[in-house]
């Protein structure tokens, strides 16, 4: 049972345009959501997060939107740059899972973003 899904395996965008990466989840207990960026042969790097009490969080060119009723979040990158080309993972946390909070994250399968010059 995949609780976090990224239904688009890949996305191709022209430099300067907006990139929109989508993520859907099924567990209504998720209360914290994150986006990570991963280059080949490297560990994921944290990009941006959002708590379930918010519907938007912005950091420079990156904005994450959360629609709790639809169980959907998205990452907007504006403007897109060739250096943004990477795999993007969304992740979610359910603090009620387990007797102690160990910050377990459930990851999506990832979306490969390619930004063309």
């Amino acid at each position: 049972d995949q609780q976090v899904k990224q239904n688009s395996p890949s996305l191709s965008v022209q430099e300067g345009r907006i990139s929109i990466l989508n993520c859907d989840y099924t567990n209504s207990m998720f209360d914290y959501f994150l986006w990570y960026k991963k280059y080949p042969a490297e560990g994921p790097t944290f990009l941006i997060s959002i708590s379930s009490i918010k519907d938007k969080n912005e950091d420079g060119r990156f904005t994450v939107f959360l629609n709790k009723s639809a169980k959907h979040l998205s990452l907007h990158i504006v403007p897109s740059q060739p250096g943004d080309s990477a795999v993007y993972f969304c992740a979610a946390s359910d603090p009620s899972a387990g007797g102690t909070s160990y910050g377990k994250l459930t990851f999506g399968q990832g979306t490969i973003l390619t930004v063309h010059p």
Partner: protein, 116 residues
């Protein structure tokens, strides 16, 4: 500032050989520690996590084991590797928090394991 190290960066091992991957964290105390695997073309699968020395929780049954001999050291092991153990292994840490809240996980550079 906190840093996380993993070694080796790459490893090629024959089937049936043992495995030991090491992860260490600097600049923080009592972190939560995690081992993930990314198989080719797939997402991140949580293998083990630890909230303290000697405490290990396993997420999936498998050929691997983990140990935490020191506060900031996390080791992934196998007695006999299988072909299916090939993949990219990632260690991550997060700040220990009280129940009901959570925090961001930070990943190491990863180890590329190829089992032949």
């Amino acid at each position: 500032s906190q840093t996380i190290h993993q070694w080796p960066a790459t490893l090629v091992q024959p089937v049936g050989s043992p495995l030991s991957l090491e992860c260490t964290v600097e600049g923080t105390s009592n972190p939560n520690l995690y081992w993930y695997r990314q198989a080719a073309g797939r997402g991140l699968q949580l293998l083990f996590y630890s909230v303290g020395i000697g405490q290990i929780s396993s997420e999936v049954p498998q050929n691997l084991s983990a140990s935490r001999p020191q506060d900031r050291q996390f080791i992934l092991s196998s007695k006999k590797l299988l072909l299916s153990d090939s993949g990219f292994y990632l260690c991550a840490w997060s700040v220990w928090v009280l129940s009901g809240s959570t925090d961001t996980q930070y990943f190491g550079p990863g180890t590329r394991l190829t089992v032949l």
